[in-house]
Amino acid sequence: MLRIENLTKVYPTGTVALKDVSFQVEDGEFLVVIGLSGSGKSTLLRCINRLIEPTSGRILWDDIDITAANAQQLRLIRRQIGMVFQQFNLVKRSKVITNVLSGRLGYANPWASLLGIWSHEDRQRAMQALERVGIADKANNRADALSGGQQQRVGIARALMQEPRLILADEPVASLDPVLAHSILQYLEALNRTDGVTVICSLHFLDLVHRYATRVVALKDGVKVFEGLPKEIDRARFKEIYGEEAEEVRATAVEVG
């Protein structure tokens, strides 16, 4: 169970990106974070594995206080939290397999990994991860030779290498077309359902939220304005989260017609 308590983030520029945000995530949930651009979704996800240092508040994972961890403890925590990014964040010039293996750095022998030496098990694990996302044949291609959807699958394979108990996905499908969006989210859903990995994912399109979320947290200007089930987001709630002028846009073209 992940507990966010009174989380606040103020950037050095003075921007208050998160203001006193509290909520809980049970193990096995597929929690979706929604909100307008600039509402603080990325900041929230990055505070959880402390890629961004929270200004105040606590984040508790079972009985571990992530916010209190020192550098060494933080690395041990991070290696159990997979992360998937909107821009994939692959090393473009490196091979796909190298990108995937880098997900194992938190477990590997530091010296061997610096020399690029990986254990047989790690290599096998990497191939299995690639097989799982269906691109094992691309293992030796350069990452930038892949399409966007394939790159995001590499991103998921990299997260898989961490044997994560939690996956943070920051708008994992915002750079992809609607069909690919579903295929990527289905991988995350499968991890969530069959492996029991907790997923916290920020999304833009409400139809995707309805389709995949088990629970929703909505942010507006850094404040939590909604927490509940996807079906509870009715027109009034929608206007509250996205503002009066907002119209619902659907990610999947077929559903509009």
Binding site: R75, G103, R104, L105, P110, Q162
Partner: protein, 464 residues
Amino acid sequence: MSVNQAVSSPKAARSPLVAALLSLVIPGLGQAWQGHLARGGGVFAVVVSALATTIWYGHATWYIIPAALWLWNVWDCLRMPAGAPAWAAAILWLSMAYGIGWQVTEINLLALAQNGERAASILRPMMRPDFITKRQNRTQYSVRVQVPCSTNPPRAQATINGVTITASPDCVTVGENILVTARGLQPNFPTEVTWVTPTGGVIMLGENNAKMLTLNSDEQGNLTVMFTVPTGIQASEEFVQDYRIALTQVETLPGYEISPNGRYILQGIYETLALALLATALGAVLALPISFLAARNLMGGNPLTYSIYVLARTFLNIFRSIEALILAIIFVIIVGLGPFPGMLALTVHTTAALGKLYSEVIEGIDPGPIEAVRATGANWAQIVRFAVIPQIVPSFTALTIYRWDINVRSSTTIGFVGGGGIGFFLWQWILLGDYRAVSASFITIAVVVIIMDFFSAQLRAQLH
């Protein structure tokens, strides 16, 4: 003008006359007072810079320009808000800048055209670069002669490969005549006769000792010659030394070979390439750590690292701005002539130049992969190894290759000040007026640079 006034802004409501008076006192003040701050500043800068330039140059005639600009500035105030035509001021200012610039650089186009004969005397030999010569076979026979005579001088006779040379008398003093006979030479063949000092210096025996004395052997391969022992040599009165008389037959063979100067050129270009390579490698190694310190995205974090960043940047900027040539002069003074000071100079310059370029590469890397690798629980070294290095290695390699390219070119000029390499030979040949060797060096340098250019471009293209 009336149209301009019709649409005048409230700013221009202030009296143009007062503004003109203000501008008469201080250029630009009137414009500023009328609310045109930027224009006022610009006018001030134009007039003051013109004034400063003419004062520095010190020729009274040129004062007409700042004076005219000063008047233009008053006129400008009177014509607000449209103002006086800016092109008038621009023409005035530029005519001063170019005029003074022309005189300062002493441009003399006539000199280029007038000395055609001098140019031709240089260009003609340059059309025949001294790089290869006809293949030759030089055979030399010599006999020892004592100068001056000892109490019991040995016979001045020697037999080498069937050729016997005899000199008489057996020993001489400077200015005496000596008779040389040789038997067994190649018959009917031009033979050079020279006087060789104990240290190996060759003195020609032709007219005024400035021309080669060349005689033909007869049908039997015999040769007899009488000459005066050259007076120029520093023979002592009592100290007996062995001089030699040398007979050289130069046989021209079919085909060509590299001339002696050509060999110097090859040695020089090899030295140049090697010192450029060494300087580039050393410079790259030194630039590497500095570049990380000079990268803002890595060092901007806290005040301490930021001040290190500022220091590293300053260091790089200072040494980058000093020409390698000037560094070479300094190092020649410190460590003496040769390729070593040239290499040191190039190394320092390369370190600074590459350090700056490397740091710019580091500043331009994509932070995304760094974030992603950090999120996996990797430590600092692992992040650098997996997210930073793969991003920078191709650019670093390309920049380094390109730098080697540049260094080859600049090490040719560094040789001019004694920094070794082909430039050193080139400089000697220019001083000696050996323009055939000069043009051969030019061609060699050009060919090497073009080849390097080609391959470095290929290599760099591969790295993308």
